[in-house]
């Protein structure tokens, strides 16, 4: 069944973004309304698409060189993408609604909603893409939107810098991604997923080439999904408005990397070497981010590192050759992490943009609904049965246990840390006494913000059940294999929770001071040093060379030399007739010699 529905789903948000930018950017209320309406409409389209598994859509030829290179703008509509569509547009719609409340009085509201809609467009594009180049196109557009949204409050230097950092770090990943695409194209002659599959032997027959290509493609995911070593942009990205953090940096955009890896799983899983690298990258990220999260004071930073850590799980799952487990975790994580961020957003908004958890406290009483929903999110995140996170994390742990015990150990340790830092957050924020005037006077958030919280909380509870998740996903079979794993995992969680509660109950300030963790393993400092000592140094050397050697030395030197030579030649012109006669004589004799005697 061919239908234009996917096109509508894709283009509606773009249309709204264009409309806002061109016409209604002065009317902030109307703009936000257009945006929300278009995203909800898009969500309904997605739901319809989801209900019709046999749907196809017309495609459009973006670029074609006869027999050499073809890039269509066409859609893949398999189960994976349909699930992802619903997820992305659904959460997107919720966050649009939430933003109505959160950004109510922002002066850049129109711009904000335009960017948000544009983001939806790009994200849906990634999900639908049926080839590498198209995916890359939307991949980059997503990067642009995240740049715009992070830099929404561009007056703040930190926001401006964070926006740049996000974009450039992503570009670094895309650098590898593009080379990977080129290599695949070179080997198979196509960038369209469906055309690559039959040609896959052409690339798998050359293992070194294959591994390189796969790892380069993985680079894209490393950038977008903020894996070590390109994870640095995500925590900084929290400078953006909180709904943005929820939407982009928790539920959807960062998941794009995982989605992409699953989408090209047919390729990735042919290279065991690459898979190992991927798995370890995920593991390292998971552990490292969790460790850092334990020492952060900014509520959004904690959640950001938590996101990193969870993304690490997903990548780990991909690396352990189970796209299903990765997608499952992605699915559940989207709900509870969005929930957590939105909850944090409520807290922040109600406390006049205070983000330091040590300035909060006692919010369980002031903001009860937020407290409840936030707690559900936390429980889901730390993997407390029967919340959704339990099921998906369990699947990954089981997977790791089957494939690599060392990774399993680290994953378990991460689970422990997750419980630790989340409970730390809960205890400090919601219990005890308010530790600032803003915390004392806080009140429950408006309805537009609470509605998404409630909906998301419901999903955070139920999304892990077979009956719900099974409708959307092919569930990983690992979850049923070994029954001791859940017990061990829950044990780790409980242990982490208790440690955190004991440690942070009734504290007024941070009792631990682990500088290494607080300063995020000094990665930012290292990068700053690295950039300063390589790129900036080279840039300065190049600039110096250009200005003084090529320009002054080469160009001006030559022209100066010409000038000088000219001035020297002029010296013949001394004005004295005798000298002229003499030079004339030299000329005569010289030319005669030249002509006769040589």
């Amino acid at each position: 069944m061919s239908s234009l529905l996917p096109w509508y789903a894709l283009l509606l948000p773009l249309f709204s973004a264009a409309l806002i930018m061109l016409l209604t950017h002065r009317l902030r209320g109307l703009s936000s309304f257009i945006s929300v309406a278009s995203v909800i409409a898009s969500f309904f389209c997605c739901c319809l698409i989801f209900r019709h598994p046999d749907m196809t859509a017309p495609s459009f030829l973006w670029l074609r060189f006869q027999g050499q290179f073809k890039v269509p703008i066409g859609f893949t509509l398999d189960q994976l993408s349909r699930t992802m569509l619903v997820l992305v547009s659904g959460i997107g719609a919720l966050i649009h609604i939430y933003s109505l409340g959160y950004m109510r009085d922002d002066e850049g509201k129109s711009r904000y909603f335009a960017s948000l809609s544009l983001f939806m467009f790009a994200m849906i594009g990634i999900v639908l893409a049926n080839n590498f180049v198209m995916m890359f196109i939307f991949w980059e557009l997503v990067g642009l939107c995240s740049f715009l949204l992070i830099g929404h409050w561009f007056d703040r230097d930190a926001a401006a810098k964070a926006a740049n950092k996000a974009f450039i770090t992503n570009r670094l990943g895309d650098f590898g991604f593009m080379i990977g695409i080129l290599m695949v194209w070179l080997a198979t002659g196509s960038v369209v997923f469906d055309d690559i599959v039959p040609q896959i032997s052409k690339i798998t027959s050359n293992p070194g080439y294959l591994t390189t290509a796969v790892l380069l493609i993985f680079c894209g995911a490393v950038g977008k999904s903020a894996q070590f070593p390109l994870h640095v942009w995500l925590p900084d990205a929290m400078e953006g408005p909180t709904p943005v953090s929820a939407l982009i940096h928790a539920a959807t955009m960062v998941a794009a990397g995982v989605y992409m890896l699953v989408r090209v799983g047919f390729l990735i899983q042919t290279s065991q070497d690459a898979l190992n690298v991927i798995a370890w990258t995920g593991t390292i990220t998971a552990v490292m981010a969790a460790l850092i999260a334990t020492q952060q004071d900014d509520i959004k930073k904690i959640l950001a590192y938590s996101t990193l850590s969870q993304l690490g799980y997903m990548i780990m799952a991909v690396g352990l050759a189970s796209g299903e487990a990765a997608m499952f975790h992605l699915f559940t994580h989207a709900f509870f992490k969005a929930l957590l961020f939105l909850g944090a957003g409520s807290l922040i908004a109600m406390m006049h943009h205070e983000q330091n958890i040590w300035k909060m406290g006692g919010q369980g009483k002031n903001m009860f609904i937020t407290f409840v929903t936030f707690s559900i999110g936390t429980l889901a995140l730390i993997g407390c049965p029967p919340f959704s996170g339990f099921w998906s994390k369990d699947a990954i742990l089981g997977l790791a246990f089957n494939r690599n015990l060392f990774i399993f150990g680290l994953a378990l340790f991460t689970a422990f840390l997750t419980a630790f830092y989340m409970l730390r957050l809960m205890v400090v924020v919601f219990f005890g006494k308010p530790r600032s005037p803003a915390a004392q006077s806080s009140d429950e958030a408006p309805r537009a913000m609470l509605l998404p919280l409630v909906i998301l909380a419901i999903f955070a509870v139920i999304a892990g059940f077979n009956s719900v998740a099974g409708k959307f996903l092919t569930l990983p079979h690992e979850r049923d294999t070994f029954s001791a794993i859940p017990v061990v995992a829950v044990g780790a969680t409980v242990l982490g929770s208790f440690v955190a509660i004991l440690l942070y109950r009734k504290r007024e300030a941070e009792p631990l001071d682990l500088r290494l963790l607080r300063r995020k393993f000094f990665v930012d400092e290292f990068y700053a040093w690295l950039i300063a000592s390589t790129q900036d140094l080279l840039a300065r050397i190049a600039s110096f060379t250009d200005r003084w050697i090529i320009d002054v030395g080469g160009v001006r030197g030559l022209s100066g030399a010409t000038w000088g030579l000219g001035s020297l030649l002029r010296l013949f012109q001394v004005g004295n007739l005798q000298v002229y006669a003499l030079i004339f004589g030299v000329g005569v004799v010289g030319l005669l010699y030249f002509a006769l005697m040589r």
Binding site: L571, V574, G575, N576, L577, Q578, A581, G585
Partner: protein, 105 residues
Amino acid sequence: MITLGHYLGASAVLFAVGFAGVMLRRNIIIIFMSLELMLNAASLSLVAFSRSRVASGLPNYNAQVFVFFIITVAAAEVAVGLAIIVALFRARRTTHVEDISAMKF
């Protein structure tokens, strides 16, 4: 035996003397005389060549006609040249080349 070479040699020496005079002397009038020497040296060669190219028992008179022209031109040149030198002397009270180098470079 006197050959063409003798005359040419004599002419060459005279020419070189004139040439040297132009380059070495600083009095414009004497430079001018040296130029006359050069012209006359050329005429001498010409006449010698004319004498050596005998056709039907006569020297080649074309060359002698040319010499006639040379002498005429030289005379006219001397007249104009001396007029200029006079004018210069009136203006600057000098005939010395080193004194007339207002324009240079």
